[in-house]
Subunit: 129 residues, 2 copies
DNA sequence: CTAGTTGCAAAGAGTTTGCATGGCG
DNA sequence: CGCCATGCAAACTCTTTGCAACTAG
């Protein structure tokens, strides 16, 4: 668990929370944060993921692990929709998500975990392409 | 595209299709198929993924890329539910999936791609733990 | 036959780790 | 001050690739 709020950890959190709708891999973060070493990036990403401040996400066909900021509980209970074209993340509110997943639970007896599930597809803005 | 059905490719397909409800990474496959080299495993996994016979899947917290067999079109149009406890995959039939995702499309204007989306959670059998 | 495929080993890419130094609380 | 965190570089793990030998059709 992280105990000290170091300059590096703060820079990382600031950066990710300022771009909460995007995902980044360690290399991209290290590039954006010039004075944070690669190992500090990796170590902090792991620590912050364990604390629940970040979430690990899939980026189609990528070999690198990507992370995304998950505000304290801004995303609590809501479902994530990720656009494969623009890579942006959209949120489905808790009520809608609950209704949707309740259907799966009743139909299949399968309890979907909103925190781990991401719906991939194409968002409204990208549907023209 | 694969043109020759070599001993190695056949062994790989046989193995994955015989365990179609499980996922495997290259290392596990190479270990199970003693007389198939690692490079043949990687090359065939890539080729078979391109042909649509395999699908690339996420395994929580894993660094290795995992694959799963996807029969000809047995999974066509259905949504995948993956249990985090037993790692098994369940299928939601096409009709149910369509109904479910249609809701998202209408509510959020987001077109979910069933081929890329996996719902993570806990299956009926594992809910006791 | 002959083009696709394999095995090996070396190269590459991404991530982790040991250790001395630095800095938060 | 003490302990955690950092930076660097080396170690590691997973994956890709070059090349000569092999083999399916």
């Amino acid at each position: 668990m992280s105990q000290y709020m170091t300059r590096q950890r703060k820079a990382l959190l600031d950066y990710l929370s300022a771009h909460a709708d995007e995902t980044f891999c360690a290399r991209e973060i290290a590039a954006a944060l010039a004075d944070v070493s690669a190992s500090a990036v990796y170590r902090n990403l792991a620590a912050l993921e364990a604390e629940g401040k970040l979430r690990r996400v899939e980026r189609s066909g990528a070999r690198e692990t990507a992370y995304q900021y998950v505000g304290a509980d801004a995303c609590k209970g809501c479902l994530h929709l990720k656009c494969k074209k623009c890579n942006r993340t959209f949120h489905m509110d808790a009520a809608g998500a609950e209704a949707l997943l309740g259907v799966v639970e009743r139909a299949e007896g399968f309890a979907v975990d909103k925190a781990d599930t991401v719906l991939y597809g194409v968002c409204e803005l990208c549907q023209d392409d």
